[in-house]
Subunit: 346 residues, 4 copies
């Protein structure tokens, strides 16, 4: 039985980790870390866990934690994980960081976009970007996983095959993304109040959102060259779900079948990426509560562009689910263990 | 492995049954019945099932079905199940009817409230009302289960202990219920369009809702006398969830502890009924996607009344989850099998 | 042109007051008070007012304000208005208090339910309870108006005629109320975040909500005796709207026509109370954005009770709209001026 | 007093027209046409109109209608208006067609995208595209107005100035649009049920949406050359509101101030187009219920693109509000009459 500790267990991603690990037959949560709720019963913070979780919330004590568990999940604000880890800890315990601290290889890019000094740049090189479908083998051997951001997961998986196969022009990629409000976290802010979000929609972080360089780095690996994109996230009045609509110019004329064949080549064996049938567009509701990413595309011969679409539950494949998938790989378990979740509808 | 057939697999309750049975290790769905979608792939009707369910929808053929499966779930409009079953079928296969056909023992009451002629009154006596927490032993031996209605399940479980123990006056019970819109079904009606339901709330079926006699019958068993209640359901702009707020006059002055003790006595060993802590009110979101019913109460000394509250997912404990719980009991399986679902939040 | 000042202009009720007064041809807002946003442009707080309101937010300075305006609206937390007014101010300016400070005639009841010391009990007697349909004549002559609470407005108007005419037993009244989330205000609290409210429903303040004594006092005037009720509010995932469902035992058998006649007698000439047709239940969406209260009822002969229903926009008739209606009466204007708002649908 | 008739008064756009015209001091609705609800009281179809509208719904009889009214609004499916009008009618009455029949000058393009034969191509040339901010003078003199589509209105107004001034490359325009569900109409379809739309988001009509050629034609006038765009609409779980996010490559390096100056030059005097302050993104809620379009932009120097954003209420400026604005112009009234609606928030 894998003993898991969570730092940041009372955020929405932390709560989802708890939900998933409760259903995982080879792992158990033994440390519910939450600086804001120390000594409070976890099930008073998340009443859905009443009679399911009996533990109380603990402070962030990574040394102590490292001596008690096999894996630590950090579902915390940027900067915290980097400030807490060291060689000794990494020798004792595997770390899956759900924050952005180790996602970007160029520390200068990280510091510029996140306006933070990186406290452990020496581990950036070692950290493995935990996008399982692409870096599976490296993940198996890793001590430190940079669990991908929600938008980057959905975007990269939707675009990767076409870029890798050279079908689209990397200079033309535009990503228009839409997210449910759980992505904004559980902080008490006026902007996230029900009455402000409900019956409303807006773009935010236009041209400056911090997931931009993360997406560009991953797409750059696929393209074999530097990639610059436009990325515009939007806030949608729903709890869960990310939908991305990406546009790029095709390098040559291609048929539906040719493109479909490329997607299938990359994803036919992937359990968590579903390439939808022709003319079927992804819908966030069709993946809710599950670890699936649904992808689809449409060729527009009039403009020579292709529209690539992806839908995903931001808290599952976009955060906690992918973290569990990474854990499974790191511990030699079946990759899908605890993640065989049928999407809930309606 | 139990082979299950579903008649009405493309309604919301039918879809939820499929979701739950996909995660059940001792049962499998072998017949996806849907008269409206015959020969269409099930996963085209419910795209969340893409790459999970490969089957196509089948017509309603109960004879054929009875020869292929061990249990039939009928998630159909009132009247259909009663029109299809007969002794030969009941000798071959167990039936769990999610419609109201066999819930009410007095056929005249059924026919009056449902405006239907009952086609199989001879089986009403035999049918067991599948409220597992109350009729567990009878369910184990049953051939035909009347799976309780959503409102009756939540209402009965919230009120039953106090009525049974004689703490409240049966003549004073008022039940004000609120339901998410999935309870209205998947039929294409203007009243259930997004724009009509969203940002809106209304009562419906005031004083004439057909769950009234079902609740009255069950509460009557608890009270040991005939019970007449007011029951008012309301439509709420959310997908899932039922909340009931019930009022009754206390027969004598009681303390919080005394009432709590009564609830605990009935439910401490029940896996799916959670009696909440003092001052905690049930919220539908805390049980979403799970088989739990959360109950709670508040004594109002100023008026001599008690307010009893219950929250539940109408599609799980209120329909498909309870149906699976009944199946588990009928087949001698662990009662909780396939139902160990952690509520999904947010 | 009436000059109006608002203290608390950046709460939801304050914002609605601004919206309504912008469309009022005989009044203009000259003071946008908001302690939280002093010196900030009002249209940066409420971007809907961009290019409509140019003013900046002002501090709370009642003396200064009293010398500049004809009427002050206080849309502030309980206690503030009572702490600011005095005889000198009341001699200069009319005050419409949207808080609860002057709604309850018995100061002890106020202090007990609100857990506050009342700072101006000497003005309670003089203050007029601003429920226009009932206290119209007194309002015309008032210096100080206690603008009714949202729940009390909807509840009182729905029940008043039947109680006044002696058709129902005052000891049996139960009010089950449901409100959109704007009623919870614009404070940044976790409980009011989108993800906590959306797809959720709960009761709150069960048996202790502070609108209870206000409703009881008003119903008491109708009954001519002390009234004790059960009042249970619920939070609903929508922005605006209050729906109340009230239950009472009929004192004698009555027909639909008799009851309808009673409602019509009280409300036929009322512009803002609409008695719906038989079998039509009020829906909050049908009054959204308007000053209407829609009322309806259903007799249940089985139980001898009547179910009374009312729907209203909590920010309009339940707050800002009624405040403007009061202002109109106090200044001798047409009562409906600025309030001829057609409900917005969908 | 202008007498107005509406054909299609019971759709959402028709209902909004009624709401707006009820508040218009120089116009009155004398014919509520609705083939689906002939002889039914209008206020039974739209209960918000109870005690506001007394009329019953009438059949579509354009000859009769033309003899009774000064202006006819057709808020009907494509093809109907074109099939009903003729020279005689146009000589008697002004027509504002909210359908697409007369929006596109090239009848072949219309027939190809709409899969319909155009029944009155002889009037296409004469018809004026009723985008008031751009075609104001022609509208004043028109007999027949093609009221613009919702997406085209928001898109064109957001992009027009930059294209007209040659700042952006027309070949690079990508429009990612998001709409509330009222845009899908009031037809009873499973896809538009509450439970299917709520907590969900999807793209639809990808690369084939029929507003595409309409947008391209209007942008072509601005560019002075043929324009081909990608246009992708999405369905959002909210009642009202359109948000468009448009991308284009800048033809040269420009500063914020230069672009802002261009927008101001076009819109400073426009009452219904609000160019937002720097770094403020449009939100649909800030314009709800009003005739405003809020526009804003962001230059991304990293990619050389500009992101243009616009928000609007699809039923007001995107349909009924613009229709009234056109009527005002056609009849020589103040352009803003009946449209001075303050956006409703929250």
């Amino acid at each position: 039985m894998i003993k898991a500790g969570i730092i940041g267990a009372t955020g929405y991603a932390g709560g989802e980790l708890v939900r998933l690990l409760m259903g995982h037959k080879e792992a158990e949560v033994v440390w519910f870390g939450s600086r804001s709720y120390i000594d409070k019963r976890y099930s008073e913070v998340y009443q859905n866990m009443f009679q399911i979780v009996d533990a109380v919330c603990m402070d962030d004590n990574m040394e102590e934690l490292a001596s008690q568990v096999d894996v630590i999940f950090t579902a915390t604000p940027q900067g915290l994980c980097a400030s807490l880890i060291n060689e000794e800890i990494l020798n004792k315990v595997k770390i899956i960081d759900l924050s952005a601290d180790f996602r970007i290889k160029d520390v200068n890019v990280y510091e510029e976009w996140y306006k933070l000094e990186h406290k452990s740049p020496q581990f950036i090189e070692e950290a493995v970007y935990g996008l399982c479908e692409i870096n599976r083998e490296d993940i198996r051997k890793a001590r430190l996983i940079a669990n991908p951001g929600c938008y980057p997961t959905c975007t990269t998986l939707s675009i990767y095959p076409l870029l890798k196969e050279g079908l689209i022009d990397p200079a033309t990629i535009i990503v228009d993304a839409k997210s449910g409000t759980s992505g904004a976290g559980r902080g008490a802010k006026v902007d996230n109040l029900f009455c402000e979000v409900n019956e409303n929609m807006k773009a935010y972080g236009v041209a400056v959102h911090r997931h931009t360089p993360e997406i560009e780095e991953q797409l750059g690996y696929a393209a074999g060259q530097e990639v610059r994109i436009n990325f515009t996230p939007h806030l949608v009045p729903m709890n869960r779900g990310i939908l991305i609509t990406a546009y790029a110019t095709l390098k040559k004329e291609v048929s539906y079948e040719e493109v479909k064949q490329v997607y299938d080549q990359y994803y036919k064996k992937e359990r968590f990426v579903r390439v939808l049938d022709q003319e079927v567009c992804p819908q966030t509701k069709w993946v809710e509560g599950s670890n699936y990413v649904d992808v689809s595309f449409k060729i527009d011969n009039r403009t020579g562009r292709i529209i690539m679409m992806g839908a995903m539950d931001n808290l599952v494949k976009g955060a906690a689910g992918q973290a569990v998938q990474n854990m499974n790989l790191m511990f030699g378990l079946e990759e899908t263990m605890g993640l065989e979740l049928v999407p809930i509808f309606p």
